[in-house]
């Protein structure tokens, strides 16, 4: 179980303080699939990075199974938006990186990465280098790398933001299959309402900067979900109504920033 209590994050730049996150309170259960949904610049990626232990919160606390988060931990793995694969390592070596860091013997490492590359359908590409793969394939490798260390909590930062629409659909289904099979808790950052509704058990809708939790929307519908169905359309309208004004507000903020910058 993941909890965030009274979480605040402020950035100080050029002597002035900017609030990125204000009073975030969250509770995510074991095995849940939760999306953090919000307009660009709302701090959803910042929140994910705080949960990952990559950056500290200004105040408040994050705990996993009651244990306070003060840095990265073995029970968490992160899938980054632009894959963050090492170009100098083969697909095999990339998947095995976390295992290498845990000093797992070479033979066992290879066994685990072979099994996971089979799961994501990339065993034939095991000896390739990342630049020889498509965007969708790279993200599959990145997911396999995260699964290799067998985390209970999978943190995903707009993982399918950089791939084309068809690949995206495929990857979403694959992720749901993996999530069911491996029983992970997933926290998934996205700015796509459709993606959030298709994937999540619950959607945490965030406000434009500074990011607050605006509303938590439960999506109890059974999977696989038919996005063309009437039920899903209703959910879409519901979330769009919640998020709509935030998107407008975020756009206005962005415009103001650009004006100030010019």
């Amino acid at each position: 179980m993941l909890t965030a209590e009274n979480l605040h994050k402020k950035y100080i730049s050029h002597g002035s303080e900017t609030s990125a996150l204000v009073d975030i309170n969250l509770r995510i259960e074991e095995g849940e699939f939760v999306c953090l949904l919000g307009p660009s610049g709302c701090g959803k990626s910042t929140l994910l990075k705080i949960i990952a232990g990559l950056i500290p919160a200004t105040s408040g606390r994050v705990a996993i199974n009651g244990k306070l988060v003060s840095g990265p931990g073995p029970e968490r793995a992160v899938v980054f938006q632009d894959y963050a694969l090492f170009p100098w390592m083969t697909v095999h070596d990339n998947v095995e990186f976390g295992l290498e860091a845990r000093n797992i013997p070479v033979a066992e490492r290879r066994e685990i990465s072979t099994r996971l590359l089979k799961v994501v359908g990339l065993l034939d590409f095991a000896e390739r280098f990342p630049h020889q793969l498509s965007g969708g394939m790279k993200q599959r490798v990145s997911i396999a790398r995260a699964l290799a260390v067998d985390p209970s909590l999978l943190l995903m930062d707009e993982p399918f933001g950089a791939v084309d629409a068809q690949t995206r659909q495929l990857l979403q289904d694959e992720l749901l299959r993996i999530w069911r099979e491996y029983r992970k808790t997933v926290v998934f950052v996205t700015h796509s309402i459709e993606e959030a509704i298709y994937l999540s058990d619950r959607i945490v809708v965030m406000t434009a900067r500074p990011g607050r939790v605006k509303q938590i929307v439960a999506v109890p519908d059974a999977r696989p979900r038919d996005m063309a169905s009437i039920d899903m359309n209703q959910r879409l309208r519901q979330v769009r109504a919640v998020l709509g004004e935030e998107i407008v507000r975020a756009a206005a903020l962005e415009e103001a920033d650009l004006m100030a910058g010019a």
């Binding site: 990559l54 990265p72 170009p87 100098w88 290498e100 860091a101 990342p130 630049h131 010019a262």
Partner: protein
Amino acid sequence: MADVSYSKNVVREPAAAEATATSSQRWLPGRERWLGIATIVAFLVIWEVVYRLGLMPKWAFPSPWKVVLAFQELIANGKLLTNTAASIGRQITGVLLAALVGIPAGLVLGASPTARAAFLPLCRLLYPIPGIAWIPLAILWFGVGFTSTVFVIFFSGIWSIMFNTMTGVQTLSGQYTDVAKVYLASRSLYTRRILIPGSLPYIITGMRLTYGVGWRVIVGAEMISSITGLGFLIDDARWQLRPDIMICGMITIAMIGWVSENWLFDWIEEKTIVRWGMRTT
């Protein structure tokens, strides 16, 4: 104001793109190579003409053919081989020492702002001293021969590899560091598997420059502080009034420099950063 300069850029860019497009169409790759060869041939012809017309005193200005004959002589009596081997041995030793010290130093400087604050001022002070200026001190410390030449190569070459490695570390994507943190990589694993390969494009460029600088100072160093090597061969030919031998030495230096700088380092790049899709330029 901002609007005006922006529109200027927009106008200029397509024009520049057009210019490069037409020039690349006009110059086919085959033609470029022929132009290069033609210029070298023209150079040799002018050399021969200058010699025939007696524009320079003949005892100081050999014909190209005399240089070929001198090559034959130097190969036959083994002098070319022994002196080349001596120079290459010093060069490799000096460059390897520079890499052995320069790469770790560059990694530390790149990773630690404290180290940069402490050592960069001293480095910047030492860096402009030409390698040749170290020769008299090197002779006082190490005597004439191998060690002093290697010392000079080392001191001239270390800066390129060190500063390039430092830049490579500084420009490495922060995301790789995030991945290392997420998967709890130790400092040694991080250095070995991320920092060094990630900085490799810069490290190879640094080695290329270090190698080039070394090969350029070695001749000067050997002229003053050595009794073997290609530099010595050239300098010694002065006492024998053999300009043809001097030119043999110069050509040998050019050829070895060209082959190693272009072939060796291109090969290393091909096996690493090109294979990894990391070539930036």
